[in-house]
Assembly symmetry: D3
Homo-oligomer: 67 residues x 6
């Protein structure tokens, strides 16, 4: 433990994934959890599969790209 599931829009870069993995692991190390115990899963879904405020992200955030 902990297990961390991160939901993002599809298409985030490999570099961003790397930073998410190392950064979140560090957050748990800083509260005393051994790093080997931290497991993280990034689940990517297309923007049309996200709804915010009743609209799909593919509409609402048409011009925003994932990092």
């Amino acid at each position: 433990m902990p297990i961390v599931v991160v939901y993002t829009w599809s298409g985030i870069s490999s570099e961003a994934k790397k930073k998410v993995v190392s950064g979140i692991t560090k957050v748990f190390e800083d509260i005393g959890i051994p790093r080997h115990a931290v497991e993280i899963i990034i689940v990517e879904t297309p923007k049309e599969n996200w709804g915010v405020g009743g609209e799909q992200a593919s509409e609402k955030f048409r011009d925003i790209k994932p990092p």
Copy 2:
């Protein structure tokens, strides 16, 4: 809040996704939650990744397609 994660078979239409997003958001508005606070994620997985009653949906529901 709330966050809603919807698991479906792969291949549901963009039109169906739109209705899922607007419809679920409306359900929460109707109990007093502001629409901007509702976030929905649709996670699609292939029918062979679904098991119902011990069988894969790709076998058990061979002829059924997602909406």
Copy 3:
């Protein structure tokens, strides 16, 4: 299918849960899915377990109660 996991703050009323269950089921019926196939799970967590914009909901939304 579908499976729907709804994350909310702890303490939503039984009446609200009932409306969430019947309302979300109806959304899927309206796109052609048989109602018996819709399964919904409401996962409640305390406001201090929610973070929005870097702050716990117990701080940021101190005076807001779940429906």
Copy 4:
């Protein structure tokens, strides 16, 4: 109930998925749950989307393949 969400690396074989579905269903039957009530979803994500001990599985387990 129960609903079981299984996160794995992408690329597990169809044969392995079948065994996961039938095997997990059997586990619940053995504790008295009717098999038709067991629903299982396998969510596959690429190895670069997994972090263990601060590293991506695509680095840390470079030579390991899913079953």
Copy 5:
């Protein structure tokens, strides 16, 4: 990997949890995954938080208890 999240009704016995943990781990060992790599989380929620076919499990399955 894998990570397995099991959603059940609240109140399943400690003995049943033990069987779920050992049984599911065995399923993955049988397809070639080392047992130490299997992590399982059981998330319990009250029957009124489950919806099946538009009804809460606390109504629909009033007389059924978890194992």
Copy 6:
């Protein structure tokens, strides 16, 4: 987006939760995501509900407490 679901053993301190929320949010800010878009949910479950390597954490990690 992103939505982050963190599964931990029950009983982590309010101070630790606060650090998890602010720390994870910072990780995403650092890759260019606005902080208000980051939503985090901490799901706590008792140690007997965790399985690692086929054993419950309540057995395997009998003497370890969450931070």
